[in-house]
């Protein structure tokens, strides 16, 4: 059903845009443009849904259907909230992956350093001890 809705929406998107948009609609349009610039394919559907809802809201507002327009605005805003959260979550996951990688590298480096320290300590233990001059016996 979502697919059918989006397909019809895509067909309708080619039609002329509403002539007047309110300040709320402008804010939503800017949010849509900003989130689309992120080029995250996972949120394309939500952005498309927000666009259609925004168009419906404008249409309804123009035709005097205030309550219906308000519902459409709220649907557009909720869609954009979801898209923004997903984008932010994707950023967080990428940061987590990078940090996980750093942590693994640190673990590996730590292991190497620990081995080197153990080897150096063993080598020092096996070095022949230098006899202090005071302990040397007279010839």
């Amino acid at each position: 059903m979502v697919v059918v809705g989006l397909a019809l929406g895509a067909f309708a998107a080619g039609q002329p845009a509403p002539s007047r948009t309110g300040e709320r609609a402008l804010v939503l349009q800017r949010r849509i443009a900003s989130l689309r610039a992120e080029q995250n394919a996972q949120v394309d559907g939500r952005l498309r849904q927000a666009e259609l809802a925004l168009q419906a809201a404008s249409t309804r507002q123009e035709s005097g259907e205030r309550e219906a327009g308000e519902r459409a605005y709220r649907i557009a805003e909720a869609s954009l909230d979801i898209a923004a959260s997903r984008i932010e979550n994707a950023r967080l996951r990428a940061a987590i992956v990078a940090l996980e990688r750093d942590r693994i590298q640190l673990e590996e480096q730590q292991s190497v350093v620990d081995s080197a320290i153990a080897a150096a300590e063993r080598a020092l233990q096996h070095e022949p001890r230098e006899v202090p001059r005071s302990e040397r016996s007279a010839p």
Binding site: M1, V2, V4, G5, L6, A7, L8, G9, F11, A12, Q15, Q49, L52, A53, Q55, A56, T59, S63, A68, R71, A72, R74, I75, A78, S79, D81, I82, S85, R86, E88, N89, L92, R93, A95, I96, L99, E100, D102, R103, L106, E107, Q109, Q110, V113, D114, A116, I117, A120, E121, A123, L124, E127, P128, E130
Partner: protein, 322 residues
Amino acid sequence: MNFCLRIALAFTLACGGSPAGARLFDDDAIDELRPAAPVLVEEAEGAASSARDARARGNDAVAREWETLARLKLEAAEAKAARAELEARLATLRDEVSARSQRLAERIAAREALVAERRDTLVRRAALEEAARAFETAEGDERRRNRRRATALGGARLSAALALADRAELIAAAAVALGGAPLPSLSARLAQLRQQEGAVRSEPRGASEAEALANAQALHVEALQRLADARGEASPASCRTFIAMARERGLEAHLRDEGAVLVGSDRLPARIAVLRSMPGPIVVQGSLASRLRRRLGERVQRVGAADASPLVLLPRCTAPRP
């Protein structure tokens, strides 16, 4: 707005609408999301309530839009909760990575300290070993230098002794060829000298070398004496050789009509071998006479006063006539 757009918007806004009476949310899921996103959960519940009211009024299209909004709010709440979890995980990881970085830096510093300590130990040991090697080398060089010095000195004395012995052997042979008497036990004395030479070379000893050289010199002098006796007369060539030999030994020597003249000098008795090589009488004037007579026997003839200037004349050694 055209008809198509209206249909599309209606489908989009009302998509996912649930049948009448069906529950929109799982209560347990709502309770889990509420702490992380209380406002969104409340808005979702409000939308669901409006959907139920609209459905109760028989307005299904409006009800589906409210249900859609309720689901979107719930999804936003889920995203927000996930974000909170991710942020917490990120913060934990940052702390962990920071702590590990600090720990790693400390361990690297510890490793560098150990490596430096070991390097210092190795350097100290290498320096000690190098010093010990240098000391051993110097000690060996010193031993070899001493041995070389002793061998060189001994070698020079031995070479001189052998050269004198060889020359004595030739001179003695020449004396015999001129009708003179052979040197007594010449072969035995030469053999003894060569044995001495071999012994000294295997174990250098200053006393043995000096003894070998003295023996060789004595043999050489005796051979010269025999040759002089056998000649009876000195040839011009031997006279010139005699003058040259005397001058080489620091004596003042001249070849005159009356014979070879050595101007008296305290050096003469010490260089008696020069006189032994010449035949005939030796005429001595001055204080040298008695000393030379003790060494050369009856050949020495004293002339003049004892306090006259020392002078030695070999009358049989005359200058060649031009």
